[in-house]
Amino acid sequence: MVERRLFVIAGVLILWSGGIVVKLSSLQLIHHREYASKARAKQEVARTIPAPRGSIYDRSGQTLAMSLPSETVIVNPARLPNIDVAADLLERVLHLGNSGLADKLKQAAERGRGYFVVKHSITPEEAASVRALPIDGVEIESHSQRKYPNGPLAAHVLGGVDFAEHGNAGVEQSMEELLHGQPGEELLLTDVKRRGIESRQATEPKPGIPVTLTIDERLQFVAERELAAAVEDRHAASGSVVVMDPSNGDVLALASYPTFDPNDSPTPADDSARENHALGVPFEPGSCFKVITLSAALETTNLTPSTPIDCGLGPITMFGRSLHEAHTYFGVIPMAQVLIHSSNIGAARIGMRVGQQNMFDYVHRFGFGQLTGIPIPGESRGKVRRIKRWSAASVPSISIGQEVSVTTLQLAQAVCVIANGGLLVRPRLILKQGDRSIPPAAPVRVLKPETAFTMRQIMQGVVQPGGTGYPEARLAGYSAAGKTGSAQIFDIVTKRYTHFYNGSFAGMAPLTNPRVVVIATLNGTHGELGYGGRAAAPVFHAVAMEALRILEVPHDLPDNPPVTAIADAQPLDSDLSVPDLDAGPNILQDTDDDDAPGPDAAAGPRVPDFKGMTMRDVLAAAASKGLTVLPRGSGVAKMQDPPPGAVLRQGERIRVQFSR
């Protein structure tokens, strides 16, 4: 009997433990994956690892664009248990006031909408309050938002991004591959309170690479400010300014007006404001193009700056086209004066001497009719017709800047050729990609150095008394050179030139070793105040002065030179503005250094004796004479280079060693 009972008990125990084993086997072996995946689904949360879009900086490291994480409160109206209560709570925690949220949510619920945005860009405190709300159907979405801290500054350069943070204009678009980050994903093991215990990366995040532009934020601001003021003052329709460093092609500022704020979503109303007039809207350059004509003449003909050119005493007709001057007729004047007075007839005659093929070649050599390659979408090539389509009147027309259209940027690129000694340097906008510097493109020689030097001297006359850019383009304390342009706007409807102008000024400073090239263009000016010398030259003046100050370029002239003396020394109608030009284009030998100081530079200020002076006294003495001192050490001045009494060359600085 007892044994029977024992057997029964043992059997029950065996069955019980067998059941446990079977269940364990089922859990651990047979259905292991299923239950494990269910457990993971409950415990693991897939979380996005943010990879912010790369920032954009100016050349000095100031932020122009950057992305920030942003949170948005969204609601599924269908899941709200009580819309009125939910709306009231949300209005309170999100500081919405009486925004009528309840009505909006009810309307959304009636329409069957499952996604309703309550508020964008909430603060962390608001986010915490919303998360604490015990309401179903309220969620917080995290995303990245592009910010432009300077508002409309450099808007046409930067462009903008769409809702998915993909670039849709400007550098944002052209550098999309670099700037766009690829978010990663990690799986986070959480406890019952959804606190993270352990995470593992499922996908590696790839943050966007920051881009540093050659743009100088301060200079860009000045360019935009002066451009906006000039456009409004002259009642122009639009305008653009380009500032370039001629030595390496760095675009220091690129402004277009009207402008826009890239922080705002684009609307159809601001389509015109989003047009980049500096590189996307070509125009006839007018007299600015005479620089190309004269450069070609100096290189391809035996014309020299002093060669007399018959500009006539009245309108002339060339190949059925009437040519006339703006005001007065100049008769026979030297070729340099043709540019200084901006004689149309003279330039047309010079162009005829250059010839069709040479003119076409030089127009192309200077980069017109081609993309400059600046990484901003929407660049225009301008318009230079193929030589087969040139008529007999094309050469004189192109010689005075008609029948061609150029962009402000192309004009800046061409003037850089004159400024840097004859080399065509492509505009460079990207200074760095991440930590990697982007070298400037290899320059291409377009002009002989002596030709470029001669052209600079001829262009200097434009900003001197008698020139079309005087006195607006004259820079106090700096030598400058430039060319005005006032091109009548062609009406494609009436097929006639109107009385509206594209007023331009293309200039450079200082003359001996130009550090900046500034091109200013106002489109749609009218009247004499709309000419390039009156409308655009003041913009050049303001921007160039600020650029030279920012770049710490030392003065090469007294601030207020005796104007009358210059005028007396250089009679306008009878002599060249630049006497040195008599020697023609071969003033310099091939081996001469174009960047070497000119003859005037030898008569620079003498170096004072700083010995024994304190640093403050040295700086004050140097500043009073417009000299730049590079102090070293502390105490009193012991040594200096150059020595006292030496003549200071253009751009040269005085090194002073201090010791106790």
Partner: protein
């Protein structure tokens, strides 16, 4: 056996061998003994008697057992080893979990700080915006200094000044 409880004696431990009783065979046996109705019934446990017996065990000494002591220490050692082993097994897991909590907390804080840093960078850029600085400068009647009015002094040195120009 007098000290044994009654229930132990209720059932005999040993079976008695019943001797034949000749008289009982002749007389019919009463099934139940006749009870004297005048005798009081015995109380429960009336037949149990207790008495004390003095035992002198003052000379009794427990003999030390060296094996028991070593066994005791062995047990303690084994228990300690078991505890340590258990700790070795469990503590890393627990520490991993605690570290995981801390790690995730630090990661979250790092992300928050990175975001905050970016927000501060943006705020700095907004504050240093040329347009804002220009507006502030104009409000203070400040003008752009001429080039000969700009002194590049070492701002880190004590006593250094910043040159400003007022209209």
């Amino acid at each position: 056996m007098a000290t044994l409880p009654a229930f132990l004696t209720s059932r005999p431990l040993f079976k008695r061998t019943a001797a034949p009783r000749p008289e009982t065979a002749a007389q019919p046996r009463e099934l139940r003994p006749r009870r004297d109705p005048y005798v009081l019934r015995s109380l429960p446990q009336d037949h149990v008697f207790f008495f004390s017996k003095k035992i002198d065990n003052s000379r009794l000494v427990r003999e030390p057992d060296p094996q028991a002591k070593s066994a005791c220490w062995s047990a303690i050692g084994m228990a300690s080893i078991a505890v340590v082993a258990l700790a070795c097994v469990l503590v890393p897991g627990a520490m991993t979990t605690i570290s995981g909590y801390r790690l995730e907390s630090l990661r979250a804080e790092q992300r928050r700080l990175v975001d905050e840093h970016r927000a501060l960078d943006l705020q700095e850029a907004e504050l240093l915006s040329p347009e804002r600085l220009d507006r502030l400068a104009r409000a203070q009647n400040l003008v752009t200094p001429k080039s000969d009015q700009v002194f590049h002094l070492d701002g880190n040195k004590p006593g250094s000044t910043v040159a400003m120009v007022k209209q």
